[in-house]
Each structure stands twice: as structure tokens, then as C-alpha cells.
Symmetry: C2
Subunit: 279 residues, 2 copies
């Protein structure tokens, strides 16, 4: 499977232009042979809302979202899968920071961000369920969004459930990084991939929005935790495209005597999904 | 608290020379004002055993270990705490890859490695309990050994139990690292520190032993996951010494609205110590 992550410059409130930027990126990825394209978090609404009212004005229910409808249509036209974030208005009238995965035949999965960052709490309710796993071309795909990736429990549970590839729409707000170091969000993503022997495809934003700039570093990490290509600089849009192989994420054996999963000491510690949250 | 990690060149079987190298390093760290000194894994026996019989010939019970006795004596003489690995002969007649923490008044804690790497399984039994936490100068210290650090569950549980500093005697066997990348073991260590907002002090070996060379990268990581000084090159012995502050590892708040622990979704996933393993 050929995966593309698209780093985009978006602007809060410009929902049509943002959607068009996403569709344009998917088209370019398809021209490069992509089978799956990952777009950033909240890729239609933008991120730095001035108020709950502004966010609400940019939200749409799954069934009425022009963004999701356009993704489904393009996925069908180009025979591709698309994952990305949109601003969801729930049936309960509340907003969710959500991501969808669509394929040529329509919607495959929806996931609501479990771990909300900073002022997102003023706008969104968090989800209450792990991502479902969807198999496409023999690759089992799960979703996570941005700050979710900083909770190793979540990625471990997706891995134990059999995920090969976690796709991560993200908006990483930039903060100071010591000279010679990488952003710690990226380091945590690497550790998640290597710890679990899985692929991670991460699409971030670039540019600046209402005083917030972004980390960039869109990337595809291999099951050893290393980027398949240099992570993207934050100064502009771009794309990373790489071939991923589910055989590598299925092989958890790392030495003749070691296995990433079997070596876990389940007799000493226990990590479980709470039953009320499992699908 | 001033912490030193000592990267040593050791040789399997040269138990007296290895012990002397450790004591010498502790003395030098004390000359630099260290309050706590961390030595590598299996710092008296060496690592690449030719056979179980060889390992057995290099093992000693806690109460009869000349290495532990020398650490206790030096800790008293120099008013310092010392953590390091030794080859333990258990009361059950089995060998353990163990670490001890000693202070001026004697032994503080013993920990047996929970996650065994590769051919260690032919020699050692794994432990069955998390490290206890020991408070020294207001800093709560826990132990982990080498491959343990690749299981985020373990470090998370130590953090949730209140650890400020995890000291990690290690012997990281070197493997190929893509150009421009850091060894993934180091990346995982960074992620553990940042994910939990804790200090990690890691002492590795250097040089080569029976065809195995070591990663080096001895380091002290801050609660943001960044090294306090450049990690040590693997080509020779060395020391990193840095001041750590338990106030920083107690502050889990990372934005006005985010807390590394409170943000965990305990309603969705659950991580627990199995009761039979708790101390």
C-alpha cells in the first residue's frame, strides 16, 4: 500500500478553501500512485477558534458534511482511501474533534479524539471509544488524532488489537525545541511505532493561524520507528509518500528470543480497554 | 540532587577489574559533587557470557556480593548513593539480572530485571515485581534495567506511583541506525521521560565484548524528554553529571488545561499492577 501524508496550510473559517486544499492534495497524491491519503486534523474548519460559536458555525454532522461527501466522491473517482479530520456536530448537539476514513465505496470509520489539547476543551467533547480497525488492501488501519499519540496506552491497545498502520491527522502547535533536538511530539510518535512495531502516518499543518504556528514534521514512520523520508519542514505545504508493508508490522519478533508483544509482562501489569468503551 | 551517570568499558569475567572501574567512576563523580551515581547493567560480571556456567561463576548473593559491599562502603565514605547492576545468585539457586541502590546507611533497594533481552533467557530468570520507590534527598527514585525501558507500561506505572527519577543501568547492544537518526532505544527513553514528566538517568557501556559493541548514549533526560547534556559517544568511557529538581517532575501540568496524568482516559483504558506483583 502506497501511503501519502499531506501537510497543508489552512486558515480557520475558510472552510471551502480548506476543503479545496485537501482535495487538491489528495489529487496530487493520487497522481503519485497513493492508495491512502492522510490529511490534517480539523482540516475543513481550521483550529484556532475565537469562540465556541465560531467553531459551531464551522461544524457539520457526519451525514451532512460537505467535506466528507467530497472525500467519498473523490475516493470513488480516484479509487483511493482518504483519512482526515473535520469539525463534527454530533447528534447530541455537541462538537467533536473527529476524523473519518473513507474509501471508494463510502465511509469506513469515524473516530472522535479521546485526548483534548488545551483550549479544545472549551469547544469539544472528547470521544469515548478507541478507533475501530478497518482493513484496506490487507492493511489494518486505525485512527488517532494529535495529542492522542502522547498516550502510549492508546497506541499499545490499537497495536494489541492488530493495527498495522495508525493514521494521525494532527495540528501540533509549535513550542520551543532545544537546539539539535526534534520536537518531542515527533519523538513520542517514533517511540509508539517502534514499541509496537507498527506504521504511523502523520499529517500536520504548516504556516501560522491567529498567532499559533505548527510543528510540521509530517511523516511516515516505519515499524522500527524511523521516518521513511525526512519529516517535512514546518515552513510550507508538502507531501511524504511511501510504500508500507503489513508483513513488517505483523512480524513482532525482534530477536530469536524476543517479541514486542510476548515480552510484555502481563503477569506483572495489565492494560485493558474498559468494556463500556469497546466496540 | 546532583546525579552522575558513568559510561564504563568493562570485560566479561574480569570481576575485580570491573568492580574497580565502577568504584573509580563513583569516586570521580563524587569529586564533581555527585549525590547519586548510576553504573551500567551487570557492572561486575560483564554481559556476553559464553555459558550459564560462566555466568554462575560470576554471580553472588546479595548478602555476599563483594560488589554490593564495596558500594555500601564507598557510599558511606563519600556520603553518596550508588545504583548499578550486578549478577545476582538468588536464594533459589537461580541467576537474576539485578540492580541495587545503596546509600550511606546501606542497601536501599534491589530490583530484578523484568524484561529479558535475547540470550539473557538462557542465563537469568526474570524478576516478578516492579521496583520499589526510594526517597533520597526528597527525590523518589525507581529502578529499571535496559530492555525494561522499552515497555511504556512499566515506566508509566512507576510514574503513577510517584517516581521522580528512574535510574537505568543498561547494556544496549548496538545495531544499525539510519543516518541522521538516534538509536531507537534512546528515542524510547526520551518518550518515557516526556510522557510521564520524569527524570531518567541512564548509564550504558562502551567498547566491545566478544563481538558485541554498545550504543553508548549514557544520558540524563529531563521531564520534557531532552538530554541535559549531549549523550555520550560509544567510543569510550565518560560521565554526564547534572542537577535534577523534583519540583519539575512533580509538576504534571503542561498547559492551563492539560495534565500528563489527569488527561489519561481511565474511563476508556486501564493500566494496573497485578496485585500478586505489588510490594
Amino acid at each position: 500500500m502506497r501511503v501519502a501524508v499531506c501537510q497543508l496550510a489552512l486558515a480557520v473559517g475558510n472552510i471551502e478553501a480548506n476543503r479545496a486544499a485537501g482535495l487538491d492534495a489528495v489529487n496530487r497524491a493520487c497522481d503519485e500512485g497513493a492508495d491512502l491519503v492522510v490529511l490534517p486534523e480539523l482540516s475543513d474548519s481550521g483550529y484556532v477558534f475565537a469562540s465556541l460559536a465560531e467553531a459551531r458555525s464551522l461544524a457539520s454532522p457526519l451525514s451532512e458534511s460537505a467535506t466528507i461527501a467530497a472525500w467519498v466522491s473523490l475516493a470513488n473517482e480516484r479509487d483511493v482511501a482518504i483519512a482526515g479530520g473535520w469539525c463534527e456536530l454530533g447528534a447530541d448537539g455537541r462538537l467533536y474533534n473527529s476524523a473519518a476514513l473513507v474509501g471508494p465505496d463510502g465511509l469506513c470509520a469515524v473516530y472522535r479524539k479521546l485526548h483534548l489539547w488545551d483550549r479544545e476543551r472549551e469547544v469539544f467533547l472528547p470521544g469515548d471509544q478507541l478507533s475501530p480497525l478497518i482493513e484496506i488492501d490487507g492493511v489494518r488501519i486505525g485512527l488517532a488524532i494529535c495529542y492522542d499519540l502522547e498516550f502510549p496506552e492508546l497506541i499499545r491497545l490499537l497495536a494489541l488489537a492488530g493495527v498495522d498502520l495508525v493514521v494521525v491527522p494532527t495540528n501540533w502547535p509549535a513550542s520551543a525545541v532545544p537546539e539539535g533536538e526534534r520536537p518531542i511530539e515527533f519523538v513520542k510518535a517514533q517511540a509508539n511505532a517502534a514499541t509496537n512495531g507498527i506504521w504511523i502516518a502523520l499529517a500536520d499543518r504548516c504556516g501560522e493561524e491567529r498567532g499559533v504556528s505548527w510543528v510540521g514534521y509530517s511523516t511516515i514512520l516505519d515499524p522500527e520507528g524511523f521516518p521513511m523520508a525526512p519529516p517535512l519542514e514546518p515552513d510550507g505545504p508538502g507531501m511524504v509518500i511511501a510504500e508500507i508493508d503489513a508483513l513488517r508490522s505483523r512480524a513482532k519478533s525482534i530477536t530469536e528470543n524476543n517479541d514486542l508483544f510476548a515480552d510484555r509482562r502481563e503477569d506483572v501489569y495489565e492494560l485493558t480497554v474498559r468494556s463500556s468503551s469497546s466496540r
